[in-house]
């Protein structure tokens, strides 16, 4: 009788530790700035515009070139190819400003010197003369001028005009939603090494190596095959290294090619925050019609965003804002419009959620407005408006919601979080406490998974098996801490039935897997996991066919068991089979490819199925606010989140918790503050406040929705988890709003914009107290008049 077979190490569904965890804690994990370079590596510094909008009348860099240690000065005139780093071919995003500057902080020229201090000191010697032009700094200013970086888009369903006109109740309002800096702990950095024939290899911290490759190539005026880009890991990305890494990589590459020396460009924290794009801030203007029970009948919504000086990814980001302006709610009639406003500020870009969070914030404010108007608990209004069965299951972009689990998920969370009991407790607390007030809110998330730009939904992988049975895994996805590499390795371990320790995870490299999509849209595991699975299945099939012939059994009798293979009555180790297959001249290297099925979107008709599926979740947050200072504190959070069938629960919990806290920061303490000349004043952690350890709620409970299973054929029926949890933090904003509303007997809508800083909270507190006092005076006057 055979002994029980040892189990597979590191297959799917295990809470496998991050593949680099031991290197992270020992300091041995290499980031780009840690890669040893030969002596003579040049350091780059970019000189920034000191105007928000101006013509450059004169630029004299003679003294810069002559300064100590300077090897090269790059201006727009020194770019051999096309002076552009726009990600979508809009040609509106110069590598170096040419003739005019469009935001305060825009790079005008770059200096390469022996040390970055020398480069910085030299840059100060330039003579730049400006002729000021009038800047537009806010979305409102861009909107007023109807100056857009990309055409506005519109979703329309039903007859919103007529439905609004005949609705029983109608409310209008505006919500301002702040932007957010990514604040990845590792700033932008690239290291370029010159090669033969003017070729160049770039080590960079980028979510999109193929785009970096393309940008380097066309600025150099060379074909893509002259450029190799590699990314081992990033010290955080969050969308901020999707398009924003290219500019610095190109400057380093140009320097390396022109000087024949290695060149590094690393932005320090201040320069990084000033020169790179952020989450768009939005204005949301709504006009909603609803019935006496709070069911929405029609919504007219305008979303205006501050895009900055160029298009970057603003078109897709504004689209996604529209696609999420329904969040979880059925809108029988709706017209939703985006206004991607051009402003003289840094060009805003991808950030976890990609417009979705702002769209959701808009509709959640609408829900709260309805609830306050009707005197209902906002949760009641949320539940009444959820997508439902046929007849209440079509989105404003005409996609049918087929996989909605929210009614069940919310019901479960209400019970596990004791929403009703705590609602009573909060009310009791607020009766007894004049200075501190508590608030409670449950908000849902429905987030569409897939790139809305359909062609991006493709991925490739490359797997080698070496003669000793060790496996080399490569794919187009990049690792920014989200656990993509370990999840994909788990998929391959499971497919080949080899321990994960046998699989070498390797750096993303444009020379191995070409034409990759960015690691973004939460789709990294869905796509690269499937591509790697395809490659693994190809190899497995070749090994199976070989074994069947070698042992003279049908292929059906070849079975892969943990680290060994059973072939009919024989059993041999995986490495033995591999060696035999090699000797039998079997190709032990395979590529895999995946394209997401079913997705399509017709932008002209504003209809289609932009998403393969939806990820769902909900959170209950309880906060306390100080009505004298406006400070707030999150006391408890309960999360129930749908990750389908989890590939790695440890990684998924990490994404849920990390996303939530990041979203909480966006909506509370993180404030981008530009002065009236368009200068960002919050460009370092001393002034820009992401959540600290003590901001994590003392009572934080999260659970994966146990019944979750992707109804679509995703990788092992899992669901994407990168972005959706960020939006669970909208519950924090609404809990704060709920606490403020208690000062107006829960019948007045707090005038609270995001982020809910102490200042905004205090101003909303003062405002609601004033309105409540006026209201009771009016009521008294009415009563007196009536008497």
């Amino acid at each position: 009788m055979a002994e029980p077979a040892p189990a597979l190490s590191g297959g799917v569904r295990n809470p496998q530790a991050h593949d680099s965890a031991a290197k992270h804690v020992s300091g041995e994990a290499l980031y780009v700035d840690d890669i040893p370079t030969s002596a003579g590596c040049l350091q780059l510094y970019a000189a920034m515009s000191e105007r928000a909008h101006a013509r450059i009348v004169a630029l004299d860099v003679t003294a810069v070139r002559d300064a100590p240690g300077v090897a090269l000065v790059l201006t727009a005139a020194d770019i051999p190819g096309i002076n552009d780093v726009s990600p979508t071919g809009t040609l509106d995003d110069p590598l170096l400003a040419d003739g005019r500057v469009l935001f305060h902080g825009q790079p005008i020229f770059a200096v390469a010197a022996e040390t970055v201090e020398q480069a910085r000191a030299a840059a100060a010697l330039a003579v730049v003369e400006y002729e000021d032009l009038t800047p537009a700094l806010t979305a409102e200013e861009g909107w007023a001028k109807q100056d857009y970086v990309t055409p506005p888009h519109k979703l329309r369903r039903g007859e919103p005009g007529a439905a609004l006109a005949k609705a029983a109740k109608r409310l209008q309002g505006r919500l301002a939603i702040g932007g957010q800096d990514h604040f990845y702990l590792e700033g932008q950095v690239s290291l370029a090494l010159p090669g033969e024939d003017g070729d160049v290899t770039v080590q960079t911290s980028s979510q999109h190596p193929s785009e970096v490759q393309s940008a380097v190539a066309h600025n150099l005026g060379r074909p893509a095959n002259a450029v190799t880009v590699e990314v081992r890991r990033m010290g955080g990305g969050f969308g901020g290294k999707e398009t924003q890494a290219a500019q610095w990589a190109v400057l380093a590459a140009l320097t390396a090619v022109k000087t024949g020396r290695p060149a590094k460009m690393r932005l320090d924290r201040d320069d990084d925050m000033i020169m790179t794009g952020k989450r768009h801030d939005f204005l949301a203007d709504y006009d909603v019609g609803f019935d006496a029970e709070g069911r929405i009948e029609a919504l007219d919504l305008s979303l205006a965003s501050r895009c900055g000086f160029s298009a970057d990814l603003s078109s897709s980001i504004n689209d996604r804002a529209l696609f999420h302006a329904d969040n979880a709610y059925y809108l029988p009639s709706a017209e939703l419009r985006s206004y991607p406003c051009r402003t003289n500020t840094v060009s805003n870009t991808a950030f976890r959620g990609f417009g979705g969070p702002q769209g959701m914030m808009a509709i959640e404010r609408v829900i709260e407005a309805i609830a306050r108007e009707l005197g209902l608990d906002p949760l009641e209004v949320r539940k009444r408006n959820l997508y439902g069965a046929a007849g209440r299951d079509v989105t404003p972009y005409h996609m049918t919601v087929e996989d909605n689990v929210l009614p069940e998920l919310i019901a479960a969370l209400e019970v596990s979080a004791d929403y009703a009991g705590r609602r009573r407790a909060v009310a009791a607390f607020n009766r007894d406490n004049p200075v501190l007030k508590r608030g409670l809110a449950l908000t849902p998330v429905k987030f569409g998974i897939s790139f809305t730009t359909t062609f991006l939904n493709q991925a490739g992988a490359l797997i080698h098996i070496y003669r000793d049975g060790s496996v080399h895994l490569n794919h187009g996805g990049t690792e920014m801490g989200q656990g993509l590499f370990v999840k994909v390795a788990q998929v391959v371990a499971e497919a080949l039935q080899v321990d994960i320790e046998r699989i070498k995870i390797t750096a993303t490299n444009t020379g191995k897997v070409p034409n990759t999509s960015p690691t973004a849209a939460s789709a990294g595991t869905d796509m690269n996991g499937m591509a790697a699975l395809a490659a693994a299945e190809t190899l497995k099939q070749r090994l199976t066919a070989f074994a069947a012939v070698a042992f003279g059994v049908p292929e059906a009798e070849v079975r892969f068991l943990p680290n060994r293979v059973r072939v009919g009555d024989h059993e041999l180790n995986f490495d033995d089979l591999v060696e035999r297959a090699y000797l039998g001249r079997v190709q032990l290297s395979a590529t895999g490819f995946y394209r997401t099925p079913k997705v399509h979107y017709d932008r002209d008709k504003a209809a289609g199925r932009p998403f393969y599926y939806f990820a769902y979740g909900a959170a209950v947050s309880e906060v306390a606010i100080d009505c004298l200072t406006g400070e707030s504190k999150v006391l408890r959070v309960d999360i129930l989140h749908d990750v389908g069938r989890s590939l790695n629960p440890a990684v998924d919990y990490g994404q849920i918790e990390g996303g939530f806290i990041q979203g909480m920061g966006w909506l509370t303490s993180e404030e981008l503050w530009f002065d009236d000349r368009g200068r960002l004043a919050t460009h370092a952690p001393s002034t820009y406040k992401i959540p600290a350890c003590s901001d994590r709620p003392g009572d934080f409970r999260m659970a994966i929705f146990e019944r979750g299973e992707n109804r679509e054929e995703t990788i092992h029926r899992s669901k994407a988890v990168g972005e959706p949890p960020l939006m669970l933090a909208i519950s924090v904003f609404h809990a704060i709003s709920d606490a403020i509303a208690s000062l107006g007997d829960n019948r007045l809508l707090p005038a609270l914009d995001a982020p809910a800083t102490p200042e905004r909270i205090l101003m909303a507190v003062e405002d609601i107290k004033r309105r409540a006092a006026e209201g009771s005076r009016d009521a008294a006057a009415l009563a007196a008049a009536g008497a």
């Binding site: 702990l185 590792e186 801490g481 504190k633 918790e657 370092a684 934080f700």
Partner: protein, 480 residues
């Protein structure tokens, strides 16, 4: 006098000569030692990615302190042990218990902040470990993580344990051998006197010298303003300036005493002042920064001057052999201008203890509770007698170009009944005292509103002690 500094790098002795006194510990590690585990996240001591631990002898024991390598200058390591993340693994390559706990708790995602967390946790491990969530939060307030949401890191802190790694005697012996008893003088213009007399003489000779204490402000002049500091006179080795003396009447704080060192004595005398210090900067900053420096740099938003002024603290200033004692409130003349002659320095801060009929309250308001620069800080010291305000000393930070007393408000209060009517008049009077500016931390309107509301908070806390008024801090302590 010697031209080289000596310290332990991990357990290896180092003697470094010919160094640039403006070189930070972070750059030294990364560029000269090739130890790249320590990261630069912000170069201003606000993110903690560069956290290293310093070992040094204190009262015969080896004490470990987490500090920010990015803003500390290398010469200040003289006679200390520098422990970076690379030094934690055991000789056999196994992870330190702190590192192991982080791996097992899934405490790293992108990993860039991780070495800094490892080092903050290592300092906590050597200092008795994590007793509760508050201790963990305080130990980690200076380490930002953008990926995890902190939960797994807190979990690691709870399970990592505590210990001494068995190296104390050997390290102490090594460190003792580095001290030749002489003042350190380096060629690039760095002088570290050992006595106050030597310091006074040195500053008379070089009145233009930059006085360096913890470097939590001065360090940024190099890393953020890209200035070159020369010469530097470091006060951290001056024995007299490192003294903390607690008597029945007063607490005397030498100008080079760090926040961490002064915290307990101040918190015992004035719990709210202790709470402000707990929230000032981070553990790393408080381990380096000094109250003397917080005063001497003249910042309008320094956190310690308002409570010190409300408590009638005094300064001993010294120039050469001449000393003068002044009230702290007279020290701040205007923005960037202090009552300090060339060559003169702050020697001692004297914080009086006061009779129990005085009520002291202090509130720091900022966008984030921990490690944030204040928008408004209000310090209120009221002598209440039979329902009246017999005397009042009120000082605000963030409301004017200097820390400033609210004299019009004090005038309304003094002698008046402690009532809502008086409160209302006192609130109004603040508009006479202050015309604050608006900036990225807060608008002018908010600042004035909060300044008024903090007065209301004092009123509520002193007249309705049962009412809950605090979101953070130890309520029991705060209410005393």
């Amino acid at each position: 006098m010697t031209g080289a500094i000596r310290f332990l790098l991990g357990d290896e002795p180092r003697k470094v000569a010919g160094l640039d006194p403006n070189l930070t510990v972070l750059r030294y590690l990364r560029e000269q030692e090739g130890l790249c585990g320590t990261k630069e996240g912000c170069a201003e001591g606000d993110c903690g990615a560069c956290t290293v631990v310093l070992g040094e002898e204190v009262d015969g024991r080896l004490r470990h302190r987490a500090v920010n390598a990015c803003i500390q200058f290398l010469p200040t390591l003289q006679g200390k042990q520098l422990i970076a993340v690379e030094h934690l693994k055991a000789a056999d390559g196994s992870l330190h218990p702190v590192q192991q706990a982080l791996v097992e708790s899934h405490g790293s995602q992108c990993g860039f902040c991780t070495p800094g967390f490892v080092m903050s946790l290592f300092a906590l491990y050597r200092d008795g470990g994590a007793r509760d969530r508050g201790v963990i939060d305080d130990a980690l307030a200076g380490n930002l993580c953008r990926c995890t949401g902190y939960g797994p890191i807190v979990a690691a802190a709870r399970c990592m344990g505590a210990g001494d790694d068995g190296d104390e005697a050997a390290v102490l012996a090594q460190l003792a051998s580095f001290d030749d008893g002489e003042a350190l003088a380096l060629e690039g213009g760095y002088f570290a006197p050992r006595t106050a007399d030597d310091l006074a003489a040195r500053l008379l000779a070089y009145p233009e010298a930059t006085i360096l204490a913890g470097g939590t402000d001065v360090g940024l002049w190099v890393t953020k303003q890209h200035r070159r500091l020369e010469p530097i006179v470091y006060v951290g080795a001056v024995a007299e300036l490192r003294r903390l003396e607690v008597t029945a009447e007063r607490i005397e704080i030498g100008a080079a005493v760090t926040y961490s060192e002064a915290h307990r004595a101040i918190a015992e005398a004035y719990p709210d002042f202790g709470e402000v210090i707990r929230r000032l900067g981070s553990r790393q900053i408080r381990n380096l920064g000094t109250i003397g420096g917080n005063i001497a740099n003249g910042s309008p938003i320094g956190d310690s001057p308002p409570p010190l002024i409300a408590l009638d603290a005094r300064l001993v200033l010294r120039r050469g052999d001449a000393r003068r004692e002044i009230a702290l409130e007279d020290f701040f003349i205007a923005y960037g201008q202090q009552d300090l002659e060339p060559g003169e320095f702050v020697e001692t801060v004297i914080l009086p203890r006061q009779a129990s009929d005085w009520r002291f309250r202090c509130y720091k308001v900022s966008k984030r509770f921990d490690q944030d620069i204040t928008a408004v800080l209000g310090a209120f010291n009221l002598k209440l007698e039979g329902g009246r305000v017999a005397a009042a000393r009120i000082c605000y930070g963030g409301m004017a170009a200097t820390p400033k007393r609210a004299s019009a408000c004090e005038a309304v209060l003094t002698g008046a009944p402690w009532s809502e009517a008086t409160l209302s008049r006192a609130r109004d009077a603040l508009a006479q005292d202050f015309a604050p500016i608006g900036d990225m931390r807060a608008s002018a309107a908010y600042r004035l509103q909060v300044a008024r509301n903090l007065l209301t908070k004092v009123y509520v806390e002193t007249s309705e002690p049962a009412t809950a008024t605090r979101l953070v801090g130890d309520r029991q302590v705060a209410y005393g």
